[in-house]
């Protein structure tokens, strides 16, 4: 039994990727849950909002790179992020002003807003492809690894290596910073508290003199930032292709639902639950079992619960389980 090597394999193929993916999902699910809690609808356009934000950041990155700027070991995209966020914020405010506001003023049924958000999703999807094309865009530059597998093996003398990519480290760090900022904002500032109050009891918030339009604008600004950061981190880590963000929609919703729609802490926890579930269920455990079990009972197959083609089934199953057994989610969001 070689526990150390088993742990390293686990860390390299399960823990580190799941932490990274979980951070990305957490940031994305935060955007979904805020829109649900404050604006009271499930925003089907969120995945493509992330695509838009990433696209804006990529364009800004190219601009910066053409000016000869870079960020040293870190990706230039981090410098371009603020521009991406601003662009996305303007886009979201425009869609709100032109599209959502009408239905909000009419106090339309939630399902109407969902359908409308689906229309916005469709449009945004086409717009992103129109502007940047449908193909792959790899925009990560700078150092690729914080520590490569080979360096690790040399340092520790183990036979298994642990590689940590720069993008993975950045993702987790950025996520921590963003979440901390968000919670500080929501819990310690007057505006943040007004958002929570509006989400909690809209009529009472209006009676307290809270300006609903201001709440809406601030919400969209935060959502723009979250979506752009989440999308950019995901695109840096993997690659940018417009249609993959639509595929993130289901894991994002699963994460938000499992945590409790409308509950920010729940969205974060949900993000990690979905990420870890997806990675562990589609991972081939043979290597780890090989290190931990006696040789004669190690199974011959790959020991993979579900093939990676069925990644979508993981978040879908989580969603179904939550809906069947506890629709309000872990942290009691607003389900009805």
């Amino acid at each position: 039994m070689d526990w150390l090597n088993a742990l390293i394999v686990l860390a390299n193929f399960v823990v580190v990727p799941a932490l990274t993916y979980g951070s990305q999902l957490a940031l994305g699910a935060l955007g979904v849950t805020l829109v649900y809690g404050i604006l009271r609808f499930s925003n089907f356009a969120h995945g493509d909002t992330m695509a838009f934000g990433t696209m804006a950041t990529i364009l800004a990155t190219w601009a910066l790179q053409s000016l000869g700027m870079s960020f040293g070991a870190l990706p230039t995209a981090l410098l371009a992020l603020p521009f991406g966020i601003i662009g996305t914020a303007l886009y979201l405010l425009a869609t709100d002003r032109l599209i959502y506001r009408f239905y909000r003023r009419q106090r339309a049924k939630p399902i109407v807003l969902v359908i409308v958000s689906a229309g916005v999703m469709f449009f945004t999807n086409g717009l992103v492809r129109f502007i940047i094309g449908p193909g792959d865009r790899n925009f990560a530059d700078g150092e690729r690894f914080i520590v490569t597998a080979r360096e690790f093996k040399e340092m520790t003398g183990l036979s298994e290596g642990l590689a940590i990519k720069t993008t993975q480290g950045i993702t987790v760090l950025t996520a921590i910073v963003v979440v901390a900022l968000l919670f500080w904002f929501l819990n310690r500032t007057r505006t943040g508290k007004s958002l929570r109050a509006y989400s909690d009891n809209e009529d009472l918030a209006l009676l307290s003199g809270i300006d609903p339009e201001r709440v809406v604008i601030v919400t969209w600004l935060i959502v723009a930032a979250l979506a752009t950061i989440a999308g950019t981190l995901y695109g840096l880590d993997k690659t940018f292709k417009p249609f993959i963000y639509f595929q993130l929609l289901l894991p994002l919703f699963a994460a938000a639902v499992i945590g409790g729609l409308g509950n920010p802490l729940g969205a974060i926890v949900g993000g990690f639950i979905v990420a870890f579930a997806e990675v562990t269920v589609t991972y081939a455990w043979k290597k780890v079992l090989g290190y931990t079990l006696p040789d004669d009972i190690v199974p011959s197959g790959l020991v993979q619960l579900l093939s990676t083609d069925y990644k979508v089934a993981v978040s879908f199953s989580i969603l179904v389980l939550v809906l069947l057994f506890r629709p309000t989610g872990l942290f009691r969001g607003q389900s009805l």
């Binding site: 007057r190 508290k193 109050a197 909690d200 009529d203 009472l204 009676l207 307290s208 003199g209």
Partner: protein, 236 residues
């Protein structure tokens, strides 16, 4: 006689095409407690909502400090000094007691700590539970949070819609004690109440509404002593 501080005169209107109020008049003066009682469906809550601007009035108007406020929306009336405590859904359940009070003072730009201290003096239990989410408190305590929240704006007039609905008699007594203390601070209080006997006992003025009309008006004591009122609405 000078005009009462807050008056809704000859109120006639309803939510849709049918009128619920038919020319009823409600008034309250500084430092006074005025109570609206009556049978179910008499239009008590509706009258209060009319004063607050949540109803379309066909006839009649509302005046605060002598000035008409008919054109103002409910939010604007709050900013002009009217405090309103709805009957239900009157706290922010996921926010702490302290945050609820902060939200109450949202429109105030100045430091509201003094006011919060006053509210805590008035409702000591709230100080004890200041960090607890309001949704976890008992019914009576929640009502105190709701009233405290409304007081945070330093209102010129306070309106309460059935503040003792669903609370035990002991809590009701306590609530009424507090309300008397608030009135003693000079704030006129207008209250709709289902527990007519106890409410009239603390009232300076009472209005008995029947089918949207003033059926009886007078001081609380007078109404309690009136045989007709006692027989019809107070169960003898």
């Amino acid at each position: 006689m000078s005009e009462p501080f807050l008056v809704g005169e000859n109120l006639t209107g309803g939510y849709g095409s049918a009128d619920i109020l038919h020319g009823c008049t409600i008034a309250v003066d500084k430092g006074e407690i005025a109570v609206i009682v009556g049978p179910n469906g008499a239009g008590k809550s509706t009258a209060m909502k009319a004063l607050f601007g949540m109803l379309v009035l066909r006839k009649g108007g509302v005046r605060l400090e002598g000035r008409s406020i008919d054109e103002l929306s409910p939010s604007q009336r709050v900013m002009n000094g009217m405090g309103f405590v709805p009957q239900t859904s009157n706290v922010f359940p996921s926010m702490t007691v302290e945050e609820n009070l902060e939200m109450g003072a949202f429109i105030r730009r100045d430091d509201c700590n003094d006011t919060m201290t006053e509210v805590f003096d008035l409702f000591p239990i709230l100080k004890e539970k200041r960090k607890q989410p309001a949704g976890q408190l008992s019914g009576g305590q929640r009502q105190q949070v709701a009233v405290g929240r409304a007081l945070m704006t330093r209102p010129k007039a306070l309106m309460l819609d059935e503040p003792t609905a669903g609370v035990s008699p002991i809590v009701m007594d306590e609530l009424f004690d507090r309300i008397i203390e608030v009135a003693a601070m000079g704030i006129p209080i207008l209250m709709v109440e289902q527990n007519a006997r106890q409410a009239l006992a603390i009232a300076d003025h009472g209005y008995v509404l029947v089918q949207g009309r003033n059926a009886f008006s007078g001081s609380g004591a007078a109404l309690l002593a009136d045989d007709e009122v006692r027989k019809s609405f107070l169960g003898g």
